[in-house]
């Protein structure tokens, strides 16, 4: 209980104590189900992926877009480092999209009513996806546009 009390007083002299407060909390004590083993956490991740592909249209579009981008990169024979950067950019959007869906589920779980904080939670989570898409478009253009223009004969 004293750890939580320190949460209330961030200016407490015991800064070190409050820093170590979080890790003293055992999440299993407040979870209706405790994760059983490594293998089942992996299976939850696969289950979440299947859910996204089946239920979210955006994720399916994203999967197609990802395959097209990788296909174009392979066709243009970009270097390994450029390819690695593209894979990172694609992964960034996927992660933002999945975390957005997780936040949405948590918000829907918390309340069925309309609430300003529900709007903040959902809108800001989808802003994260938008930011990821913007960053990925910039990265994609920087890496793919020059060789693509050369290949299409527009740039010499």
């Amino acid at each position: 209980m004293s750890e939580m009390a320190r949460l209330q007083v961030p200016k407490s002299k015991d800064v070190i104590e409050s820093l170590t407060g979080t890790m003293k909390i055992d999440p299993d004590e407040y979870s209706p189900l405790t994760s059983r083993d490594r293998l089942s956490s992996f299976s939850y991740a696969v289950a979440g992926w299947l859910y996204m592909l089946r239920r979210q249209k955006n994720t399916r579009i994203q999967a197609v877009a990802s395959i097209i981008v990788i296909g174009v990169a392979l066709w243009l024979q970009v270097g390994f480092t450029e390819l690695a950067l593209l894979v990172l950019a694609i992964t960034l959007v996927w992660m933002a999209e999945f975390l957005n869906a997780a936040v949405e589920a948590a918000v829907n779980l918390a309340t069925q009513e309309l609430h300003p904080m529900a709007q903040v939670g959902k809108d800001v989570a989808s802003a994260a996806v938008l930011l990821g898409v913007v960053a990925s478009i910039i990265i994609g253009l920087l890496i793919l546009a020059p060789p693509l223009l050369v290949r299409l004969g527009i740039l010499v």
Binding site: Q56, A89, V103, L131
Partner: protein, 174 residues
Amino acid sequence: MTDPELESGTLPEPIEPDPAQANKQVLVTPQGEEIDMSILGTMKIDPKAGGASKNANRLASLKYGVAGLLYLLKREQSIQLAMVVTLITVVIGLWLQISSFYWALVALALGAVWITEALNTAIEASIDLGTDEIHPMAKIGKDVASTASLIAVIVFLTVVFFTLVPRIVDRLNG
């Protein structure tokens, strides 16, 4: 300094996991709904059944994204700081005339910072929505979400250290 009322223990009681449910493949909710715990179980859930409101179309989801971005820019100091850092980085990049590959690296690192900051704010809002009480799990949720932001900042600084810093030093040495 500590609030005596909190000192006397207002923490929620830990809950006991139901051992009968521990290794089952199908769980039953208090409302009698069945939850399939297998790999193929999650995708059987229809999100439209559980949402208070849902996206009408693709354009509307873009609108929500922009609305969230405006909220962040107005209300979140850390995002305003990220904006300033982004502008400074772009100016330095233009000054050094870095290659498009380095631009892509910097964009990726900055993107990670913005995204984790946005998701941190979103998770904070959903936790505040979920409970008004002080709860250990709320602390974990908020702390861990801000750890994600911290990691992204460390990654960004690492990228800057390897891409921009050597060139700035070169430039300043003539």
